[in-house]
């Protein structure tokens, strides 16, 4: 019983983290129809910058509560710098080319950013656990669990609700829906489509960096983390359906719980439980749970 609780808690934590990362990836894909293979590297950049800021800040010995704000700051800075840079500088030039060219382009950017991280932060692991340990621990049904994962879950929920509200309840949401449905018609309606693209990509970048920054206090950081994140969030959004925020939430929950169950019950399976689920889902529902079936044009 206690074990089940731990599995559920771990699963929830993992799912929250997965949602934060994959929401950005799926949002970008939904609007731009480009799968950003550099997403994991934006995550790594956010995580490294967040960890550095927190470590510097902790060294000054000031009020620890402000460190959480620094994590958000790191995410926004990374997103605002790299989002427009990648979209305006590179992606914009290949929208008219084949889909595989766009994938290759983001792949090459991911290779470059991978080394940027190594050049700036070196290859030694970095660990900034202050925001994690500051919150302390809680006893829950006989289980001793840290508070920080709950904060992470709350933030993930908040972001999910915020995204949902923006998409369904605001003018911006309508503009997005219009751009997604038909780019040309949106242009004739007077919507500045290139700008929408830039902001949508930047929003995805901020979310990636935020996912990184918020998990920096939980795991130590080492090079290569970006690739791992990318591959996992791919699986999540493929299960949920590419382009669907709700799908990302469901996918994150499924993958999170499955992964944590695998860790406790079948430890030798944990690494590929995720991909097994993804392959199964895609077999029976190729477009994922909430994905739309694309109309094939002649």
């Amino acid at each position: 019983m206690r074990l089940l609780l731990v599995v559920a808690l771990d699963g929830l934590t993992y799912a929250s983290w997965l949602f934060l990362v994959s929401a950005g990836l799926t949002f970008t894909y939904g609007v731009l129809r480009v799968l950003n293979l550099a997403h994991g590297n934006l995550y790594a950049l956010g995580a490294y910058l967040g960890a550095t800021l927190v470590l510097r800040y902790a060294a000054t010995g000031s009020v620890p509560a402000l460190a959480y704000g620094l994590l958000f700051l790191a995410a926004v800075v990374i997103g605002l710098v790299f989002g427009p840079l990648i979209e305006r500088g590179f992606l914009r030039r290949v929208y008219s080319r084949d889909e595989e060219v766009q994938l290759l382009l983001t792949f090459s950017i991911s290779l470059i950013l991978e080394d940027v991280v190594k050049l700036v932060w070196g290859v030694n692991p970095i660990f900034a656990d202050m925001p994690y340990s500051y919150l302390g621990r809680v006893r829950l049904g006989g289980v001793n669990y840290a508070w920080y994962p709950f904060l992470l879950t709350a933030i993930a929920l908040a972001i999910g609700v915020l995204l949902w509200l923006v998409v369904t309840r605001t003018r911006l949401g309508k503009v997005l829906a219009s751009v997604i449905t038909d780019r040309e018609v949106s242009l004739t309606l007077g919507i500045n489509v290139p700008r929408v693209y830039t902001w949508a990509f930047t929003a995805g970048a901020v979310l990636a960096a935020l996912g990184g920054a918020l998990t920096a206090p939980m795991f130590s950081l080492a090079p290569g983390v970006g690739a791992e994140v990318l591959v996992t969030s791919f699986a999540v959004i493929a299960i949920g359906g590419l382009g669907s925020i709700g799908g990302a939430a469901l996918g994150a929950l499924i993958v999170g719980l499955a992964r944590s169950a695998a860790v406790y019950f079948f430890p030798e399976l944990d690494l590929f439980a995720i991909y097994l689920i993804m392959a199964l889902v895609l077999l029976f529902r190729p477009q994922g749970f909430f994905g739309e079936i694309e109309v094939r044009r002649i």
Binding site: V101, L104, F107, I109, D115, L119, F272, M278, P286
Partner: protein
């Protein structure tokens, strides 16, 4: 036109003789490098074949690893030592695996195709890593020196034999792929690139063309894996890792998809540049790759191979 085709054949034969004679001219280390490049070119050839049908895979290292481990496990558990038998086993394992997974994968296109392949390759990576009692885990498997046509190989003789074997096999398989691409199924693949729905309307099975190409691509990568296993003498799960698949895609784009010879050119170029660039600056190696890839995407969409056609055209005038 005919004269030009004849010149092309002479050039190709000359190149082949030169390739076979290379070990007489250069040091053993370069021979080894060329062996690796030649073997990997086969896996890249598979990626190029699929790219011609507009299918991008980020998991082709799956078949590369299947081929390598098929050979490696046959050496370890079945005590097979004959290189030709081992390579046949690699090929069979790769074809069997791609024939099975192809049933599932050939239904998908674009991002999903790339994704599913990636997922399967990561599943294999996980299996190779976790079942260390059989696969050796992260330590991998050491492979005892093979025999070729009954002759025991070791040291420089092994290096030389593997080089010649790689040259012969790669040439044969490149020719085979070239013929496949000129076959009706190959033409269907070209048509799929332009417009898949129209191909279906003509009553041609798109699925079949994609499936057959996928199986061939898998077989090519498996032979590459077998050759690498025998030449290097050691295999690790990293052979199945996504970055290996990424490397194949990179080399495919570097060489270009314009010709079946392009993967070999791209592959040799890549191995040499990697060796020197990696020694110069291990930290900016991937960045170099990324920048080169960006440059190719923007300024040389046909890859390095398109330079030769440019030169060819100029010479013809």
């Amino acid at each position: 036109m005919l004269a030009r085709a004849r010149t092309a054949i002479y050039v190709a034969l000359g190149a082949l003789v030169l390739l076979v004679g290379v070990p007489l001219l250069v040091s053993g280390w370069i021979v080894f490098l060329l062996t690796v490049a030649g073997a990997k070119a086969l896996a890249v050839l598979g990626v190029v074949l699929l790219l011609r049908g507009k299918l991008l895979t980020f998991g082709h290292a799956l078949y590369y690893a299947v081929g390598a481990y098929a050979a490696g496990m046959a050496v370890k558990y079945l005590a097979v030592r004959e290189a030709l038998v081992l390579l046949t086993l690699s090929l069979l394992a790769g074809v069997a695996m791609s024939a099975f997974l192809g049933l599932l994968v050939a239904r998908y296109r674009a991002v999903y195709f790339a994704l599913l392949n990636l997922a399967f390759s990561m599943v294999l990576y996980g299996i190779l890593l976790k079942f260390y009692s059989v696969t050796g885990g992260t330590d991998g498997l050491g492979i005892a020196e093979p025999t070729l046509a009954g002759v025991r190989l070791s040291g420089s003789l092994l290096r030389l034999a593997m080089y010649e074997l790689t040259v012969v096999l790669t040439t044969l398989l490149v020719y085979f792929t070239y013929r496949f691409f000129a076959s009706p199924t190959g033409y269907t693949l070209r048509a799929i690139r332009d417009n898949e729905v129209r191909v279906e309307y003509m009553g041609v099975s798109v699925w079949r063309a994609v499936y057959v190409s996928y199986v061939i691509a898998g077989g090519l990568a498996a032979v590459a894996g077998g050759l690498i296993a025998l030449s290097v003498g050691h295999i690790t799960p990293d052979l199945a890792f996504w970055s290996q698949s990424g490397e194949f895609v990179f080399v495919a784009v570097l060489g270009g998809t314009g010709s079946m010879l392009a993967p070999a050119v791209g592959s040799v170029l890549f191995e040499f540049v990697r060796n020197y660039a990696f020694e110069l600056s291990p930290y900016t190696w991937q960045m170099t790759l990324g920048i080169v890839l960006l440059l190719i995407i923007f300024f040389l969409p046909g890859g390095v191979w398109s330079l030769t056609t440019l030169a060819w055209r100029r010479a013809g005038r």
